[in-house]
Symmetry: C2
Subunit: 777 residues, 2 copies
Amino acid sequence: RKEQCSSACLCDSGSNYFLSLSFRAAGMNGNGPTKLVDPLEDPVPGVGTYEDFNTIDWVREKSKDRDRHREITNKSRQSTVALLHSVSDAFSGWLLMLLVGLMSGALAGGIDIAAHWLTDMKGGVCLIGFWFNHEHCCWTSNETTFQERDRCPQWQSWAELITGTSEGAFAYIVNYLMYIFWALLFSFLAVTLVRAFAPYACGSGIPEIKTILSGFIIRGYLGKWTLIIKTITLVLAVSSGLSLGKEGPLVHVACCCANILCHLFTKYRKNEAKRREVLSAAAAVGVSVAFGAPIGGVLFSLEEVSYYFPLKTLWRSFFAALVAAFTLRSINPFGNSRLVLFYVEFHAPWHLVELAPFILLGIFGGLWGALFIRANIAWCRRRKSTRLGHYPVIEVLVVAALTAVLAFPNSYTRMSGAELISELFNDCSLLDSSQLCGYKQVCNSLADRPAGKGLYTALWQLALALVFKMLITVITFGMKVPSGLFIPSMAIGAIAGRLLGVGMEQLAYYNHDWFIFKGWCSPGADCITPGLYAMVGAAACLGGVTRMTVSLVVIMFELTGGLEYIVPLMAATMTSKWVADAFGREGIYEAHIRLNGYPFLEPKEEFEHSSLTVDVMRPRRSDPALAVLTQEGMTVGEVEALVESTHYSGFPVVVSKESQRLVGFALRRDLLISIDNARKRQEGIVSASQVVFTEHAPSQAPDAPPPLRLRGIMDLSPFTVTDHTPMDITVDIFRKLGLRQCLVTHNGRLLGIITKKDILKHMAQIANRDPDSILFN
Amino acid sequence: RKEQCSSACLCDSGSNYFLSLSFRAAGMNGNGPTKLVDPLEDPVPGVGTYEDFNTIDWVREKSKDRDRHREITNKSRQSTVALLHSVSDAFSGWLLMLLVGLMSGALAGGIDIAAHWLTDMKGGVCLIGFWFNHEHCCWTSNETTFQERDRCPQWQSWAELITGTSEGAFAYIVNYLMYIFWALLFSFLAVTLVRAFAPYACGSGIPEIKTILSGFIIRGYLGKWTLIIKTITLVLAVSSGLSLGKEGPLVHVACCCANILCHLFTKYRKNEAKRREVLSAAAAVGVSVAFGAPIGGVLFSLEEVSYYFPLKTLWRSFFAALVAAFTLRSINPFGNSRLVLFYVEFHAPWHLVELAPFILLGIFGGLWGALFIRANIAWCRRRKSTRLGHYPVIEVLVVAALTAVLAFPNSYTRMSGAELISELFNDCSLLDSSQLCGYKQVCNSLADRPAGKGLYTALWQLALALVFKMLITVITFGMKVPSGLFIPSMAIGAIAGRLLGVGMEQLAYYNHDWFIFKGWCSPGADCITPGLYAMVGAAACLGGVTRMTVSLVVIMFELTGGLEYIVPLMAATMTSKWVADAFGREGIYEAHIRLNGYPFLEPKEEFEHSSLTVDVMRPRRSDPALAVLTQEGMTVGEVEALVESTHYSGFPVVVSKESQRLVGFALRRDLLISIDNARKRQEGIVSASQVVFTEHAPSQAPDAPPPLRLRGIMDLSPFTVTDHTPMDITVDIFRKLGLRQCLVTHNGRLLGIITKKDILKHMAQIANRDPDSILFN
């Protein structure tokens, strides 16, 4: 289990398990459920289930669910018990959503509180109870004034506790060392727990969830161990001060909750397609609790992670996202009755001229996004291919130590990512004592003011923090700890935005009469809001990295709560996406999916090449003919020999080898299970028995062994396309119907087969990439 | 043109054009573009276009667009001009969206202002200029105080103007008569203009737009005449005081704008699929300007009207919706810098106990929705089948007169629907002088107060208004004037909600110590907000009628701007949908689509029956064999005879009649056009010429006429399913790929054909409806 993970997991440790796995998968992937036509025949156990690391067949799964539903509806007319069963079945989806929302909201609240506490632990301890965080500790103190809320005698920094004083170089060094000690301890615990109990718990999880939602199976990826370990290690990783966020992992946590709760309901436990509907909703829940943005969460699920998103799911996702948001709010982890630390309210409007700096921020975000993806992928590739990948614990410890050593001296890197963003988004009020609001006081007004000494210091520190964050995030994302990318990306954008905002503000203050400021920015007016620039910058950088658009704007809209600021956000996000797309159309998640060789058919991108299906299908012209079964005339021994001599996951059944007219499709796994089962249970089945796929058994010699009838496991409605079908249409069919394979015919004769893997390999070839990087089917 | 409309239009005048049209359509519908495989062969003009009242082939249209895009991309590498062309092509979609947003926003602003002015005209006139509305007129007056903003000497009611006094019974009668006069005049103008110039301009337009977006073609439905006439008559109809709203028609107006603007860009003019992407965005724009809710508009388009909604469209819709909202806001039609008349801000929170009345409102909304749909459909059916439908002008005048006579005495029916909703949503402030706030004054507080005489009068009037609105809306919706259903439905719900809200408030005031109020509603507290009840009621009724869910909640959320009230709205909307669905799963728009016999395959509903494709396909067992073409061996004369003796829209091409192996599919229209063209232009093509569909012409006798090669018009990749495919899968394929027809094979031999119409007829049969009600293909 651990070995499987370490190859499939985002944070790969450089081994070559991948290749061996892919061979195993290719040799064994007999997936795809089948429709049993003979109701009298008992289904053989195992028929219609999937192997690990394989793709499900959406059409069959949905058809199976409709059969189940039809049966329940028909029965409900017969008795009251059946009617009640039918009603409870109809409402089980809603109940499940409610549970997912409650559980995810509660977990997110717990994570927030624990992370807050452990983060504060790095700085000091509460004397009246070590389980209080800094803010809580001082709440109980009577000596605290409103202005210095965070200073109280009950809370002592480590230097105070150990040396008795918080002044001087020695105290500073003690605090410094304690900070590094805790960072190392937390990160060591995180990486060790992940490696020991749930290797799947590392990374952000979004690339894997995208792949799973598209129909792939990774057993255990959403299991209970992953949930427990990810929750604990996420708190540790965030508290360790590493440049990572909790937003992506929260999506993974919510999906784990949903997957575990699915086991309570037969409807969802037994059907892979139905379960994926619930997981789509869970992704929305994850973002909803991460940003306090239920609508944004639903749109995130729709835009970014989901593959199959029917309207029913839209409505249920929305419900679950709201339940989660309200659960989290009733826990109130930040004590401000908001769902996030960085909720903001701006008051000043923006002017059309400001669109120019906003678009500049968009360009910065796009460039940073493109650069980050390249650098991070290159680093992850290096981790995979060199010895670096063999020492994940040491890697984490080194990065944590580096981060702690460099971060402590600068107050903007010392604080957590969310706090930093909150401070940068904030508009300066008159009473604000933060360094960022270190303006020269001018007659008690909120208007644009000249920068004072405090602000200049802050600007220098922010510039240094920007460079530091940009470099450290590249090597942090992808390590063997839970790590989200939203907060670091937003922090980088927010710093850049705030710097530009303050710059604009000073420019406007000292140059009121310039033609660009004339008319809207008279002296004494509050024209520029640096906090808004920070917000726009954050959106631009996050957009550049993830290529989210609508959902990102809506999340930001829910943070500010005013339509007013949508236009700046939109201008920046659009520019950022266009600029980043010019350097490569993949977002960070798609890039990691490709790096890991998952079989993911991107639904957003159009297939632009003009090839025909005949160019992509197997067998190629030089290959041996397609391995087929005939509907009668083959013996059990021949079928077994054929199955064993090849590694295909399924075999077309034809009328006869000469005519090559297609009858159906039988899956390898089902064939093997059925023959095995028949040999054990059915009397007289020997190697010489005929295998019959027809409806009526043909007449046989009287002394021949009884035939083995396998029509039940054959799919009688395989999808076909003609050899002349343009590949863009074939790709469209695969995407929209969620196929795993499709048969190719020419003038009514079977010619070949095309699988999802073939398509992905072909696409890789067109893009001049290694087609063998696609590992799974 | 007019005749076509009167049959296709929602507001049908009872004729039997339908049937004749459907025969014409069945005989002539050679639609579906084709892929020309021979690049040397010039495409024959007309090949690949569609007849009116036919369904497009989504797959081919999208494939055509990809071909076009590929060509532009390839060319762009050759020259700078081509590169610029490629860039402008890529940005043309955004430019188009900008234009659609600007134009729709401006039109909506104009409609708002004009309707406001004409509505006030019914009451009186401004002496300083008749073009001022009541509010504008009094703005210029200095004598107006804040409290009596709407009373000033410049504005005179008709009684004042004619009799010189506004007091007394005589003045009342004069005003009454003038009110009826204007109502009749406006409605007469509206219905006459619609009948004379643009019959398609009537109704709400949403059922037709849904059908068009699903791939149907109704020429002229989104044309410039429809736009002009609909804009003018919408103003007239709203001003006439009829029980209708402008929200639905605004969606139609926005779609007309989009369709007209599409003609500026080749990419969208020539491709039906691409144009439908723009129309989806336009539907979002329509709702965005109707409710000032850009996000709600996008979700409305996604949930309610769109069929094919790729992510690219999501992003562009959002952009267009925002542009439109900002355009409308800069016009500021209501003078409150809001986009709608009924923007609200509540301050008091709600309590969990209140969920019970909210759910009650949901039940009311659901019941009303189900009842309204039945009653309205029954009435529309009666209009179609009896002589009533022959006199649309008289019908409108009678209903307008009835509405005016009954509405004038009651101030809540006299005011426009939007004003009524605005008043009902409003929370009573201390200074509020409206009757609805006629509480007994208790020590200047905003807390719950006992109802006074004014409020009791208001309650009686509201109850009467509720009954009146419920009855009159049933016969109004579907008349031959532009008529939206959103405002009347919301008004009904808002009245019911407000009544319940005031009831709850009084109950709480007089029974503070009841166990249900204990603990949260102490004396002197402001526990119940009747305005919130009105809002929840409005959402419930609108939900019951249209079956919208997420989009409705988001629209309401954007009206209030607080996450706080989403839970009540959601509870009511969910209940309302469930209750209404129990009486019939169709919303009002789907019911009207069915009434008109449009070929609309509902994407939301699952196909639950267990039939197989072989049960639905043609030919049936008793029918003559399928009409097919052979790939060689038929003469031009034989092909023409076959085409003329049948009314099918396309013919499968097989290798030979004996083998029945499928080669391709040729459309009737393309066949006729090509043969006609060849006879005129190509030398030696006579009835005895061979028609050849193969790649290489077969050898012929030397004296034979030259063969007619038609491989170019044949679709080489027709979709096929096997006869054993369960119908649920086939329906899924039709829906997801947007097919018009699909061929059915058995063991590799062609067996039959299944079309969208066959599926719809089959579904009608299962639901015990008349299968012949499906009129178009």
